[in-house]
């Protein structure tokens, strides 16, 4: 089943009198449960592409369907609701909420976004803590964790809502190579366990090797360089 379908996707930014093209006529599609990487140098348009798929940004042209929904037409409120229901995010800087413990950070989207019952929440958070091997750190604050541990928590938080699509923008950029590799393997393991589709951006060649499908971006042009376009 096609989870994402993009046709002639374009994104242009206006900066004063100059228009900057970030994505040019991109055609691609991604199946569910895939493990996909967008690779390319800084400024190649990776983050822009992820933001459009994640309904954080709207394309300037073309078609973009995510989970059978034309996300180009979603307004701010509906976009937020769509993200809340279907999409999880993992950030380069982890972006955990500093005043909440590990447990509460994972619980946050279940309270604030999806309004789960207390019992259901507790069960799900414990399940996610176990999945990312952070059960013994549950009541620590983010400031007490290492970079790798923080990213594990971020992965657990992204998956807690049963998100079908996880978008990770440079998730390993702030980690040492060994930790980065472990995080990528953890993401793959989570994909296998929960069936979610993982799309991540990176410019680290060793990390991109772990991806099953690779799209390379250069000057806004998207090319499939590994795997098959479904």
């Amino acid at each position: 089943m096609k989870l994402i379908f993009a046709k002639n996707l374009e994104k242009t930014y206006s900066t004063g009198e100059i228009d900057v093209t970030a994505i040019t006529s991109a055609d691609f599609s991604i199946d569910s449960s895939s493990f996909v990487s967008f690779v390319g140098p800084s400024g190649s348009g990776k983050s822009t592409l992820l933001n459009m798929i994640g309904c954080l940004d709207r394309p300037s042209g073309g078609k973009l369907r995510v989970l059978d929904t034309d996300v180009t037409t979603l307004d701010r409120k509906r976009g937020a609701a769509f993200r809340a229901k279907h999409i999880g995010f993992i950030f380069q800087d982890f972006n955990l909420i500093p005043v909440l413990t590990v447990f509460e950070n994972i619980e946050y989207p279940l309270i604030m976004v999806q309004k789960w019952s207390a019992e259901k929440r507790r069960k799900r958070v414990n399940e996610m803590l176990e999945a990312v091997d952070m059960t013994d750190q549950a009541y620590k604050l983010p400031s007490e964790l290492s970079g790798g541990q923080k990213q594990r928590v971020a992965i657990a938080r992204a998956l807690a809502t049963h998100a079908k699509l996880i978008l990770a923008d440079e998730p390993t950029a702030n980690l040492d190579h060994a930790t980065a590799y472990r995080i990528i393997n953890l993401m793959k393991q989570m994909r296998d366990e929960f069936g979610s589709t993982f799309i991540f951006s990176t410019h680290d060649p060793k990390i991109m090797e772990a991806a099953e499908i690779i799209y390379t971006l250069e000057d806004g042009v998207v090319n499939l360089t590994k795997g098959e376009n479904p």
Binding site: N51, G54, L56, D57, R76, K77, A80, A81, F82, R83, A84, K85, I87, G88, F89, F91, D93, N95, I97, P98, V99, L100, Y108, P109, I111, M112, V113, R157
Partner: protein, 414 residues
């Protein structure tokens, strides 16, 4: 909702010093306002009580034109018995009236057989006057008795007693002109000395109503004024309205209103001081609102600015703009609540201490008045609710700004 409040509380605790300072500022504001209200309203109540319960009563009825000439104590503007009867009938119909007392007011020469001075006197029925002015008997600094003022006796104001060197039991002579201009004199014995209080009538003497009529050689039972005590200060408006409807419509021979009805405020200059106190209370409240508004708004603007990336993160996760707004409004609410609760506890404790210790002060010629401040729970609740509402209002703009942030811009913020 509880979860949002819990997260908001933790966010406030993240910046402990800032939260503490803001709470302290709100607390100081609340304490200042509540203490001011406690002291000023107690002072106001004390003075109004003194004026109404020992002198004026709550309402007074005179013949039309009497009050404008009251300094001259015009005997020709006394009410004849027929008018008094009409007033008596009208007052009997009003439930709010607790008691009323007829008074004959006059000016006289007061002599101790060696010196002479002027004195303003009230001729009163001791039983009825005691019911209208229950605190009059508390003004005795010496003398007194079971009956407020007996026939042939006089209550002398403190200042005249001092000046004329008279004491309880001394014989004195009163000489007065009647309304035809003829002079009459009568011997009296000093029954008591009265403490002088602020306001009109605060330094008047008292004799028995029958003695006043004899001294003035009144053929009829004329009355200068009728003082009325109501069941409470808050009944003044209702009673006044009913009186206007019954005797206020009666006309004299010239076709003009026969009576004038005045509440105590119109007869005492203290009502202006009371109004000034109310105005100052209002300004103090406005200052409190400003303190809370500026301090909470400042903190919330800083909070939003410092947490832009965090706002971007929760927005990207799908947190609705409404929930983001709620988070910041909850922080403002908690700041207000915290300041209000601490301020109220501190204020009530201080009011209790001042009440126990008492505040001694002088007012006009009254020395060593002892004020025991107290505060109505309604005032406390109003101040606390006002602080909380203003704190919420102050956080609305920053909360709105946070909820309108574009997640991408917020996530990129450094």
């Amino acid at each position: 909702m509880m979860r949002i409040l819990a997260i908001a509380l933790r966010n406030l605790m993240r910046y402990r010093r800032r939260t503490l300072l803001t709470t302290l500022l709100i607390t100081i504001g609340v304490v200042a306002v509540l203490l001011f209200i406690a002291v000023s309203s107690s002072f106001k109540s004390m003075m109004i009580g003194q004026i109404t319960d020992s002198m004026l009563g709550h309402l007074q009825i005179h013949k039309k034109g009497y009050v404008s000439s009251i300094d001259n104590l015009p005997l020709h503007l006394n009410m004849p018995p027929k008018m008094v009867d009409k007033v008596s009938e009208a007052l009997a119909e009003i439930d709010e009236v607790e008691a009323w007392s007829p008074r004959v007011k006059l000016g006289a020469m007061f002599s101790n057989f060696t010196e002479t001075t002027n004195i303003r006197l009230n001729g009163v029925d001791p039983v009825r006057e005691s019911r209208v002015s229950p605190d009059l008997s508390k003004r005795f600094i010496s003398g007194g008795g079971d009956v407020l003022v007996e026939k042939g006796r006089i209550l002398v104001p403190e200042l005249i007693a001092k000046g004329m060197k008279v004491k309880v039991g001394d014989p004195v002579v009163l000489v007065a002109n009647n309304k035809d201009g003829s002079v009459n004199g009568m011997n009296f014995v000093v029954q008591g000395l009265l403490e002088g209080i602020s306001g009109p009538g605060g330094r008047d003497g008292y004799i028995h109503l029958d003695d006043a009529r004899t001294l003035l050689r009144m053929d009829d039972h004329e009355v200068s004024e009728i003082a009325i005590r109501l069941k409470g200060l808050d009944h003044i408006e209702t009673a006044q309205r009913q009186l206007k409807a019954s005797i206020g419509i009666l006309k004299n021979k010239k076709g003009k209103p026969a009576f004038e009805i005045h509440p105590w405020e119109k007869l005492s200059p203290f009502s202006n001081i009371a109004k000034m106190i109310d105005l100052m209370t209002l300004f103090i409240k406005i200052m409190l609102v400003s303190i809370v508004l500026i301090s909470v708004m400042n903190v919330m603007i800083m909070a939003v600015y410092e947490r832009i990336r965090e706002i971007g993160t929760i927005a990207a996760m799908g947190t609705s703009p409404g929930s983001i707004r709620s988070l910041f409004i909850a922080e403002g609410f908690l700041l207000g609540l915290l300041g209000a609760v601490i301020g109220v506890i501190l204020s009530l404790s201080l009011v209790a201490v001042f009440r126990y210790a008492g505040i001694s002060f002088d007012f006009g010629r009254q020395k060593g008045l002892l004020l025991q401040p107290e505060i109505a729970l309604g005032d406390v609740a109003l101040a606390a609710v006002m602080v909380i509402i203003v704190a919420i209002l102050a956080s609305l703009q920053p909360a709105w700004k946070a909820s309108c942030m574009d997640p991408i811009d917020a996530l990129r913020h450094v």
